[in-house]
Protein backbone atom coordinates (compact mmCIF):
# COMPACT_ATOMS: atom_id res chain seq x y z
CA UNK A 1 0.00 0.00 0.00
CA UNK A 2 1.34 3.43 -0.94
CA UNK A 3 1.40 6.36 1.43
CA UNK A 4 -0.79 9.35 0.66
CA UNK A 5 0.70 9.76 -2.80
CA UNK A 6 2.92 12.81 -3.13
CA UNK A 7 0.23 14.78 -1.33
CA UNK A 8 -0.53 17.23 -4.10
CA UNK A 9 -4.26 17.58 -4.67
CA UNK A 10 -5.69 16.16 -7.90
CA UNK A 11 -9.35 16.79 -7.11
CA UNK A 12 -10.68 19.48 -4.84
CA UNK A 13 -14.37 19.51 -3.97
CA UNK A 14 -15.41 22.70 -2.19
CA UNK A 15 -18.76 23.60 -0.59
CA UNK A 16 -20.67 21.49 -3.08
CA UNK A 17 -24.46 21.27 -2.86
CA UNK A 18 -26.85 19.32 -5.01
CA UNK A 19 -30.57 18.62 -4.80
CA UNK A 20 -32.86 16.32 -6.72
CA UNK A 21 -36.08 18.28 -6.32
CA UNK A 22 -36.79 18.41 -2.61
CA UNK A 23 -34.10 15.85 -1.82
CA UNK A 24 -30.86 17.52 -0.74
CA UNK A 25 -28.33 14.81 -1.70
CA UNK A 26 -25.06 16.71 -1.27
CA UNK A 27 -24.74 19.14 1.63
CA UNK A 28 -21.67 21.41 1.76
CA UNK A 29 -19.29 18.70 0.65
CA UNK A 30 -15.56 19.40 1.01
CA UNK A 31 -13.11 16.74 -0.09
CA UNK A 32 -9.61 16.62 -1.49
CA UNK A 33 -8.14 13.67 -3.33
CA UNK A 34 -4.37 13.64 -3.67
CA UNK A 35 -2.39 12.11 -6.50
CA UNK A 36 -1.83 8.42 -6.03
CA UNK A 37 -4.35 8.26 -3.24
CA UNK A 38 -7.10 5.67 -2.87
CA UNK A 39 -10.19 7.14 -1.23
CA UNK A 40 -13.00 4.78 -0.34
CA UNK A 41 -16.44 6.31 0.15
CA UNK A 42 -18.80 4.26 2.25
CA UNK A 43 -22.11 4.83 3.98
CA UNK A 44 -25.77 3.90 3.90
CA UNK A 45 -27.74 3.84 0.64
CA UNK A 46 -29.12 7.18 -0.45
CA UNK A 47 -26.36 9.00 1.42
CA UNK A 48 -25.04 10.79 -1.67
CA UNK A 49 -21.97 8.60 -2.33
CA UNK A 50 -22.73 7.85 -5.97
CA UNK A 51 -23.83 11.40 -6.68
CA UNK A 52 -20.53 12.72 -5.33
CA UNK A 53 -18.60 10.21 -7.41
CA UNK A 54 -20.56 11.08 -10.57
CA UNK A 55 -20.18 14.82 -9.93
CA UNK A 56 -16.39 14.43 -10.17
CA UNK A 57 -16.60 13.91 -13.94
CA UNK A 58 -19.77 15.94 -14.29
CA UNK A 59 -22.08 13.09 -15.15
CA UNK A 60 -24.08 14.86 -12.44
CA UNK A 61 -24.20 18.65 -12.39
CA UNK A 62 -23.94 20.48 -9.07
CA UNK A 63 -26.08 23.34 -7.79
CA UNK A 64 -23.40 25.31 -5.98
CA UNK A 65 -19.76 25.08 -4.93
CA UNK A 66 -16.74 24.21 -7.04
CA UNK A 67 -14.95 21.07 -8.16
CA UNK A 68 -11.45 21.44 -9.56
CA UNK A 69 -9.47 18.72 -11.31
CA UNK A 70 -5.73 19.15 -11.76
CA UNK A 71 -6.04 22.78 -10.66
CA UNK A 72 -8.79 23.73 -13.11
CA UNK A 73 -12.56 23.95 -12.52
CA UNK A 74 -14.53 21.21 -14.28
CA UNK A 75 -15.62 22.54 -17.70
CA UNK A 76 -19.39 22.87 -18.08
CA UNK A 77 -19.82 21.34 -21.52
CA UNK A 78 -18.51 20.69 -25.00
CA UNK A 79 -15.03 19.64 -26.07
CA UNK A 80 -13.37 20.83 -22.87
CA UNK A 81 -15.67 18.61 -20.79
CA UNK A 82 -15.04 15.66 -23.11
CA UNK A 83 -11.29 16.20 -22.70
CA UNK A 84 -11.60 16.24 -18.92
CA UNK A 85 -13.63 13.03 -18.96
CA UNK A 86 -11.01 11.34 -21.11
CA UNK A 87 -8.58 11.90 -18.21
CA UNK A 88 -10.97 10.58 -15.56
CA UNK A 89 -11.86 6.91 -15.90
CA UNK A 90 -15.20 5.67 -14.67
CA UNK A 91 -16.35 2.19 -13.76
CA UNK A 92 -20.08 1.75 -13.24
CA UNK A 93 -22.13 -0.59 -11.11
CA UNK A 94 -23.84 -2.02 -14.20
CA UNK A 95 -20.63 -2.27 -16.31
CA UNK A 96 -22.23 -0.35 -19.21
CA UNK A 97 -20.16 -2.04 -21.89
CA UNK A 98 -21.08 -1.18 -25.49
CA UNK A 99 -23.30 -4.15 -26.34
CA UNK A 100 -22.72 -4.04 -30.13
CA UNK A 101 -18.95 -4.05 -29.84
CA UNK A 102 -16.53 -6.85 -28.97
CA UNK A 103 -14.56 -6.81 -25.73
CA UNK A 104 -11.47 -5.56 -27.56
CA UNK A 105 -13.47 -2.91 -29.45
CA UNK A 106 -14.90 -1.70 -26.14
CA UNK A 107 -11.36 -1.13 -24.93
CA UNK A 108 -10.00 0.47 -28.12
CA UNK A 109 -12.92 2.78 -28.98
CA UNK A 110 -11.78 5.60 -26.69
CA UNK A 111 -8.08 5.56 -27.65
CA UNK A 112 -8.94 5.49 -31.37
CA UNK A 113 -11.75 8.05 -31.42
CA UNK A 114 -10.73 10.35 -28.58
CA UNK A 115 -6.95 10.12 -28.48
CA UNK A 116 -6.46 9.53 -32.21
CA UNK A 117 -4.30 6.43 -31.66
CA UNK A 118 -3.91 4.16 -34.70
CA UNK A 119 -6.00 0.98 -34.71
CA UNK A 120 -3.06 -1.39 -34.65
CA UNK A 121 -1.39 0.32 -31.73
CA UNK A 122 -4.68 0.65 -29.85
CA UNK A 123 -5.37 -3.07 -30.28
CA UNK A 124 -1.89 -4.01 -29.11
CA UNK A 125 -2.29 -1.90 -25.99
CA UNK A 126 -5.88 -3.13 -25.58
CA UNK A 127 -4.71 -6.74 -25.59
CA UNK A 128 -2.05 -5.91 -22.97
CA UNK A 129 -4.73 -4.39 -20.75
CA UNK A 130 -7.08 -7.34 -21.25
CA UNK A 131 -4.15 -9.58 -20.35
CA UNK A 132 -3.61 -7.52 -17.22
CA UNK A 133 -7.21 -7.95 -16.09
CA UNK A 134 -7.14 -11.62 -17.10
CA UNK A 135 -9.60 -11.80 -20.00
CA UNK A 136 -7.39 -11.63 -23.10
CA UNK A 137 -8.88 -14.94 -24.28
CA UNK A 138 -12.34 -13.32 -24.45
CA UNK A 139 -11.23 -10.38 -26.64
CA UNK A 140 -13.35 -11.31 -29.69
CA UNK A 141 -16.53 -12.04 -27.77
CA UNK A 142 -19.42 -9.69 -27.12
CA UNK A 143 -20.29 -8.39 -23.65
CA UNK A 144 -23.45 -10.50 -23.36
CA UNK A 145 -21.31 -13.65 -23.70
CA UNK A 146 -19.25 -12.83 -20.60
CA UNK A 147 -19.95 -13.22 -16.90
CA UNK A 148 -20.55 -10.15 -14.77
CA UNK A 149 -17.08 -10.30 -13.28
CA UNK A 150 -15.49 -10.55 -16.72
CA UNK A 151 -17.61 -7.65 -17.96
CA UNK A 152 -16.57 -5.47 -15.05
CA UNK A 153 -12.90 -6.30 -15.63
CA UNK A 154 -13.43 -5.27 -19.26
CA UNK A 155 -14.88 -1.99 -18.02
CA UNK A 156 -11.77 -1.45 -15.91
CA UNK A 157 -9.55 -2.17 -18.92
CA UNK A 158 -11.66 0.27 -20.97
CA UNK A 159 -11.03 2.97 -18.36
CA UNK A 160 -7.30 2.15 -18.20
CA UNK A 161 -6.96 2.35 -21.99
CA UNK A 162 -7.38 6.12 -21.77
CA UNK A 163 -4.36 6.40 -19.42
CA UNK A 164 -6.51 8.31 -16.95
CA UNK A 165 -5.13 10.44 -14.16
CA UNK A 166 -7.79 9.02 -11.87
CA UNK A 167 -10.47 6.34 -11.94
CA UNK A 168 -13.85 6.66 -10.29
CA UNK A 169 -15.52 3.42 -9.21
CA UNK A 170 -19.26 3.69 -8.56
CA UNK A 171 -20.18 0.54 -6.61
CA UNK A 172 -18.19 -1.68 -8.99
CA UNK A 173 -19.07 -4.97 -7.28
CA UNK A 174 -22.67 -4.35 -6.20
CA UNK A 175 -24.23 -5.95 -9.28
CA UNK A 176 -22.00 -9.02 -9.22
CA UNK A 177 -22.72 -12.55 -8.09
CA UNK A 178 -20.84 -13.15 -4.84
CA UNK A 179 -18.28 -15.52 -6.36
CA UNK A 180 -17.24 -12.88 -8.88
CA UNK A 181 -16.63 -10.04 -6.46
CA UNK A 182 -13.10 -11.07 -5.56
CA UNK A 183 -11.78 -11.23 -9.13
CA UNK A 184 -12.79 -7.61 -9.63
CA UNK A 185 -11.45 -6.49 -6.27
CA UNK A 186 -8.13 -8.20 -7.04
CA UNK A 187 -7.75 -6.09 -10.18
CA UNK A 188 -8.60 -2.95 -8.21
CA UNK A 189 -6.12 -3.79 -5.47
CA UNK A 190 -3.47 -4.24 -8.16
CA UNK A 191 -4.25 -0.78 -9.53
CA UNK A 192 -4.04 0.75 -6.08
CA UNK A 193 -0.62 -0.86 -5.56
CA UNK A 194 0.54 0.59 -8.89
CA UNK A 195 -0.26 4.05 -7.59
CA UNK A 196 -3.46 4.84 -9.51
CA UNK A 197 -5.51 7.64 -7.98
CA UNK A 198 -8.87 6.09 -7.16
CA UNK A 199 -12.17 7.15 -5.66
CA UNK A 200 -14.16 4.03 -4.82
CA UNK A 201 -17.77 4.00 -3.71
CA UNK A 202 -18.26 0.54 -2.27
CA UNK A 203 -19.72 -1.66 0.43
CA UNK A 204 -16.65 -3.92 0.37
CA UNK A 205 -15.08 -3.28 3.74
CA UNK A 206 -12.31 -5.77 3.03
CA UNK A 207 -11.22 -3.72 0.05
CA UNK A 208 -11.31 -0.54 2.13
CA UNK A 209 -9.09 -2.13 4.77
CA UNK A 210 -6.60 -3.54 2.28
CA UNK A 211 -6.29 -0.82 -0.35
CA UNK A 212 -7.58 2.51 0.93
CA UNK A 213 -5.44 5.37 2.16
CA UNK A 214 -8.49 7.09 3.50
CA UNK A 215 -12.10 6.23 4.24
CA UNK A 216 -14.81 8.83 3.78
CA UNK A 217 -18.07 8.07 5.53
CA UNK A 218 -21.14 9.74 4.02
CA UNK A 219 -24.64 9.82 5.40
CA UNK A 220 -27.66 11.96 4.54
CA UNK A 221 -25.70 14.00 2.03
CA UNK A 222 -22.88 14.94 4.38
CA UNK A 223 -19.35 13.77 4.92
CA UNK A 224 -19.65 12.64 8.51
CA UNK A 225 -16.17 11.32 9.01
CA UNK A 226 -12.83 11.06 7.20
CA UNK A 227 -10.28 8.69 8.65
CA UNK A 228 -7.61 6.12 7.98
CA UNK A 229 -9.08 2.66 7.38
CA UNK A 230 -7.54 1.20 10.54
CA UNK A 231 -8.79 3.96 12.75
CA UNK A 232 -12.20 4.03 11.06
CA UNK A 233 -12.92 0.32 11.41
CA UNK A 234 -11.56 -0.13 14.91
CA UNK A 235 -12.29 3.19 16.49
CA UNK A 236 -14.71 5.31 14.45
CA UNK A 237 -14.96 8.86 15.70
CA UNK A 238 -18.68 9.47 15.22
CA UNK A 239 -21.84 7.79 16.46
CA UNK A 240 -23.33 7.57 13.01
CA UNK A 241 -20.28 5.76 11.64
CA UNK A 242 -20.20 3.38 14.63
CA UNK A 243 -23.90 2.71 14.18
CA UNK A 244 -23.40 1.97 10.46
CA UNK A 245 -20.43 -0.31 11.12
CA UNK A 246 -22.26 -2.23 13.84
CA UNK A 247 -24.99 -3.03 11.33
CA UNK A 248 -22.66 -4.40 8.67
CA UNK A 249 -19.77 -5.90 10.60
CA UNK A 250 -21.60 -7.97 13.19
CA UNK A 251 -22.52 -10.75 10.80
Amino acid sequence: MTENGDATPLVRVENVNKSFGALHVLRDINLTVNRGEVVVVIGPSGGGKSTLCRAMNRLETIDSGTITFDGKPLPAEGKALARLRSDVGMVFQSFNLFAHKTILENVTLGPIKVRGVGREQAEKRGMELLERVGIASQARKYPAQLSGGQQQRTAIARALAMDPKMILFDEPTSALDPEMVQEVLDVMIGLARDGMTMVVVTHEMGFARRAANRVVFMSEGQIVEENTPDEFFTNAGTDRARDFLSKILTH
Partner: protein, 227 residues
Protein backbone atom coordinates in the same frame (compact mmCIF):
# COMPACT_ATOMS: atom_id res chain seq x y z
CA UNK B 1 -68.77 -11.64 -69.31
CA UNK B 2 -65.67 -13.02 -70.92
CA UNK B 3 -64.11 -9.54 -71.16
CA UNK B 4 -64.26 -9.32 -67.37
CA UNK B 5 -61.57 -11.97 -67.10
CA UNK B 6 -59.59 -10.81 -70.08
CA UNK B 7 -55.92 -10.56 -69.09
CA UNK B 8 -54.73 -9.66 -72.56
CA UNK B 9 -54.38 -5.89 -71.89
CA UNK B 10 -51.70 -6.74 -69.31
CA UNK B 11 -49.76 -8.63 -71.96
CA UNK B 12 -50.25 -5.96 -74.59
CA UNK B 13 -49.03 -3.16 -72.34
CA UNK B 14 -46.39 -5.25 -70.57
CA UNK B 15 -43.48 -2.94 -71.44
CA UNK B 16 -45.39 0.16 -70.37
CA UNK B 17 -46.33 -1.54 -67.11
CA UNK B 18 -42.73 -2.51 -66.43
CA UNK B 19 -41.63 1.05 -67.15
CA UNK B 20 -44.25 2.24 -64.66
CA UNK B 21 -43.00 -0.11 -61.96
CA UNK B 22 -39.42 0.84 -62.71
CA UNK B 23 -40.43 4.46 -62.00
CA UNK B 24 -42.04 3.28 -58.75
CA UNK B 25 -38.79 1.55 -57.76
CA UNK B 26 -36.72 4.62 -58.59
CA UNK B 27 -39.05 6.85 -56.57
CA UNK B 28 -39.01 4.44 -53.64
CA UNK B 29 -35.25 3.87 -53.46
CA UNK B 30 -34.25 7.51 -53.81
CA UNK B 31 -36.92 8.65 -51.34
CA UNK B 32 -35.96 5.91 -48.88
CA UNK B 33 -32.31 6.95 -49.01
CA UNK B 34 -33.08 10.64 -48.47
CA UNK B 35 -35.68 9.86 -45.78
CA UNK B 36 -33.13 7.73 -43.92
CA UNK B 37 -30.55 10.51 -44.00
CA UNK B 38 -33.02 13.25 -43.08
CA UNK B 39 -34.67 11.06 -40.42
CA UNK B 40 -31.28 10.41 -38.81
CA UNK B 41 -30.50 14.14 -38.77
CA UNK B 42 -33.93 14.81 -37.27
CA UNK B 43 -33.53 12.24 -34.51
CA UNK B 44 -30.11 13.65 -33.65
CA UNK B 45 -31.80 17.03 -33.31
CA UNK B 46 -34.61 15.60 -31.21
CA UNK B 47 -32.26 14.04 -28.65
CA UNK B 48 -29.62 16.78 -28.70
CA UNK B 49 -28.80 18.77 -25.57
CA UNK B 50 -29.55 22.03 -27.45
CA UNK B 51 -33.17 23.14 -26.81
CA UNK B 52 -33.45 25.06 -30.11
CA UNK B 53 -32.48 21.98 -32.14
CA UNK B 54 -34.84 19.79 -30.11
CA UNK B 55 -37.72 22.21 -30.69
CA UNK B 56 -36.97 22.47 -34.42
CA UNK B 57 -36.88 18.67 -34.77
CA UNK B 58 -40.11 18.23 -32.86
CA UNK B 59 -41.81 20.96 -34.90
CA UNK B 60 -40.76 19.38 -38.20
CA UNK B 61 -41.90 15.90 -37.21
CA UNK B 62 -45.26 17.08 -35.92
CA UNK B 63 -46.01 19.13 -39.03
CA UNK B 64 -44.95 16.54 -41.62
CA UNK B 65 -46.29 13.51 -39.83
CA UNK B 66 -49.73 15.08 -39.46
CA UNK B 67 -50.12 16.48 -42.97
CA UNK B 68 -51.73 14.18 -45.57
CA UNK B 69 -49.13 13.07 -48.10
CA UNK B 70 -51.42 14.18 -50.93
CA UNK B 71 -51.20 17.75 -49.65
CA UNK B 72 -47.41 17.54 -49.31
CA UNK B 73 -47.06 16.31 -52.89
CA UNK B 74 -49.54 18.87 -54.24
CA UNK B 75 -47.58 21.59 -52.48
CA UNK B 76 -44.39 20.33 -54.11
CA UNK B 77 -45.73 19.82 -57.64
CA UNK B 78 -48.41 22.50 -58.00
CA UNK B 79 -47.24 25.02 -55.44
CA UNK B 80 -43.48 25.07 -55.49
CA UNK B 81 -42.85 23.76 -58.99
CA UNK B 82 -45.73 25.00 -61.17
CA UNK B 83 -46.85 28.18 -59.42
CA UNK B 84 -43.65 29.45 -57.87
CA UNK B 85 -41.54 28.05 -60.73
CA UNK B 86 -38.87 26.47 -58.54
CA UNK B 87 -37.80 23.89 -61.09
CA UNK B 88 -35.24 21.24 -60.27
CA UNK B 89 -34.57 20.31 -63.89
CA UNK B 90 -35.30 21.73 -67.34
CA UNK B 91 -36.73 18.37 -68.37
CA UNK B 92 -40.32 18.22 -67.14
CA UNK B 93 -40.49 14.52 -66.05
CA UNK B 94 -37.14 14.85 -64.26
CA UNK B 95 -38.36 17.99 -62.51
CA UNK B 96 -41.52 16.23 -61.29
CA UNK B 97 -39.51 13.15 -60.32
CA UNK B 98 -37.30 15.17 -58.00
CA UNK B 99 -40.21 17.14 -56.55
CA UNK B 100 -42.00 13.84 -55.85
CA UNK B 101 -38.86 12.42 -54.23
CA UNK B 102 -38.48 15.53 -52.07
CA UNK B 103 -42.13 15.38 -50.98
CA UNK B 104 -42.03 11.64 -50.24
CA UNK B 105 -38.74 11.78 -48.35
CA UNK B 106 -39.67 14.91 -46.37
CA UNK B 107 -42.86 13.14 -45.27
CA UNK B 108 -41.31 9.70 -44.64
CA UNK B 109 -38.36 11.17 -42.72
CA UNK B 110 -40.71 12.11 -39.89
CA UNK B 111 -41.68 8.44 -39.49
CA UNK B 112 -38.05 7.30 -39.75
CA UNK B 113 -37.17 9.82 -37.05
CA UNK B 114 -39.82 8.52 -34.68
CA UNK B 115 -38.88 4.88 -35.29
CA UNK B 116 -35.24 5.69 -34.56
CA UNK B 117 -36.21 7.62 -31.47
CA UNK B 118 -37.97 4.57 -30.07
CA UNK B 119 -34.83 2.59 -30.99
CA UNK B 120 -32.70 5.00 -28.99
CA UNK B 121 -34.94 4.32 -26.01
CA UNK B 122 -33.94 0.64 -26.16
CA UNK B 123 -30.25 1.52 -25.62
CA UNK B 124 -29.57 1.60 -21.87
CA UNK B 125 -28.72 5.10 -20.72
CA UNK B 126 -25.65 3.73 -18.95
CA UNK B 127 -23.98 3.03 -22.29
CA UNK B 128 -24.37 6.67 -23.31
CA UNK B 129 -22.91 7.67 -19.94
CA UNK B 130 -20.01 5.27 -20.41
CA UNK B 131 -19.41 6.75 -23.87
CA UNK B 132 -19.27 10.24 -22.42
CA UNK B 133 -17.11 9.03 -19.55
CA UNK B 134 -14.33 7.92 -21.93
CA UNK B 135 -14.38 11.38 -23.49
CA UNK B 136 -16.57 10.91 -26.56
CA UNK B 137 -18.49 14.06 -27.48
CA UNK B 138 -22.28 13.99 -27.73
CA UNK B 139 -22.14 13.54 -31.50
CA UNK B 140 -19.53 10.77 -31.29
CA UNK B 141 -21.46 8.91 -28.62
CA UNK B 142 -24.61 9.13 -30.76
CA UNK B 143 -22.80 8.03 -33.93
CA UNK B 144 -20.60 5.30 -32.46
CA UNK B 145 -22.60 3.86 -29.58
CA UNK B 146 -26.27 4.86 -29.48
CA UNK B 147 -27.42 5.04 -33.10
CA UNK B 148 -25.79 1.79 -34.32
CA UNK B 149 -27.75 -0.07 -31.65
CA UNK B 150 -30.88 2.02 -32.21
CA UNK B 151 -30.83 1.21 -35.94
CA UNK B 152 -30.43 -2.48 -35.28
CA UNK B 153 -33.37 -2.56 -32.90
CA UNK B 154 -35.75 -0.83 -35.35
CA UNK B 155 -34.90 -2.69 -38.56
CA UNK B 156 -38.35 -4.32 -38.64
CA UNK B 157 -40.29 -1.05 -38.19
CA UNK B 158 -38.03 0.61 -40.79
CA UNK B 159 -39.04 -2.23 -43.13
CA UNK B 160 -42.70 -1.37 -42.53
CA UNK B 161 -41.97 2.27 -43.29
CA UNK B 162 -40.27 1.22 -46.53
CA UNK B 163 -43.31 -0.87 -47.51
CA UNK B 164 -45.59 2.08 -46.72
CA UNK B 165 -43.32 4.32 -48.78
CA UNK B 166 -43.47 1.92 -51.75
CA UNK B 167 -47.26 2.06 -51.69
CA UNK B 168 -47.29 5.80 -50.99
CA UNK B 169 -45.52 6.43 -54.28
CA UNK B 170 -48.95 5.86 -55.89
CA UNK B 171 -49.97 9.28 -54.56
CA UNK B 172 -47.37 10.80 -56.87
CA UNK B 173 -50.20 10.51 -59.41
CA UNK B 174 -51.24 13.96 -58.19
CA UNK B 175 -47.75 15.33 -58.74
CA UNK B 176 -47.45 14.82 -62.46
CA UNK B 177 -44.91 11.99 -62.53
CA UNK B 178 -45.77 8.73 -64.31
CA UNK B 179 -45.32 5.63 -62.15
CA UNK B 180 -47.14 2.29 -61.92
CA UNK B 181 -50.47 3.53 -60.57
CA UNK B 182 -50.72 6.26 -63.22
CA UNK B 183 -50.08 3.60 -65.88
CA UNK B 184 -52.96 1.64 -64.35
CA UNK B 185 -55.23 4.67 -64.45
CA UNK B 186 -54.28 5.22 -68.10
CA UNK B 187 -55.11 1.58 -68.86
CA UNK B 188 -58.47 1.90 -67.13
CA UNK B 189 -59.17 4.83 -69.45
CA UNK B 190 -58.04 2.89 -72.51
CA UNK B 191 -59.39 -0.60 -71.80
CA UNK B 192 -62.08 0.01 -69.18
CA UNK B 193 -61.70 -0.61 -65.45
CA UNK B 194 -61.44 -4.38 -65.50
CA UNK B 195 -60.60 -6.69 -62.66
CA UNK B 196 -57.60 -8.32 -64.44
CA UNK B 197 -55.81 -4.98 -64.85
CA UNK B 198 -56.38 -4.19 -61.21
CA UNK B 199 -55.16 -7.64 -60.15
CA UNK B 200 -52.09 -7.35 -62.32
CA UNK B 201 -51.03 -4.11 -60.71
CA UNK B 202 -51.84 -5.28 -57.20
CA UNK B 203 -49.64 -8.32 -57.81
CA UNK B 204 -46.92 -6.03 -59.15
CA UNK B 205 -46.86 -4.05 -55.90
CA UNK B 206 -46.77 -7.25 -53.87
CA UNK B 207 -43.78 -8.45 -55.86
CA UNK B 208 -42.04 -5.35 -54.54
CA UNK B 209 -43.34 -5.25 -50.98
CA UNK B 210 -43.60 -8.88 -49.84
CA UNK B 211 -39.87 -9.64 -50.30
CA UNK B 212 -39.09 -6.31 -48.62
CA UNK B 213 -41.03 -7.46 -45.56
CA UNK B 214 -39.40 -10.90 -45.50
CA UNK B 215 -35.93 -9.42 -45.99
CA UNK B 216 -36.29 -6.90 -43.18
CA UNK B 217 -37.72 -9.54 -40.86
CA UNK B 218 -34.70 -11.74 -41.55
CA UNK B 219 -32.29 -8.83 -41.19
CA UNK B 220 -33.84 -7.74 -37.87
CA UNK B 221 -33.25 -11.19 -36.41
CA UNK B 222 -29.73 -11.39 -37.77
CA UNK B 223 -28.68 -7.95 -36.54
CA UNK B 224 -30.30 -8.05 -33.09
CA UNK B 225 -27.94 -6.90 -30.32
CA UNK B 226 -27.93 -9.30 -27.41
CA UNK B 227 -27.79 -7.69 -24.01
Amino acid sequence: MESLLDFSPLAQEFTTILTGFWSTIRLTLMSALLALILGTVLVAMRVSPTPVLRAAGTFYVNILRNTPLTLVLLLCALGLSDTLQYTLSGDSPTNYYWWAVLGLSAYTASFVCEALRSGINTVPNGQAEAARAIGLTFTQSLRLVVLPQAFRSVIAPLGSILIALTKNTTIVIVAGYIEASSVMKQMFDDYGGTLPIFMGFAAGYMVLTLPTGFFFGWLAKRMAVSR
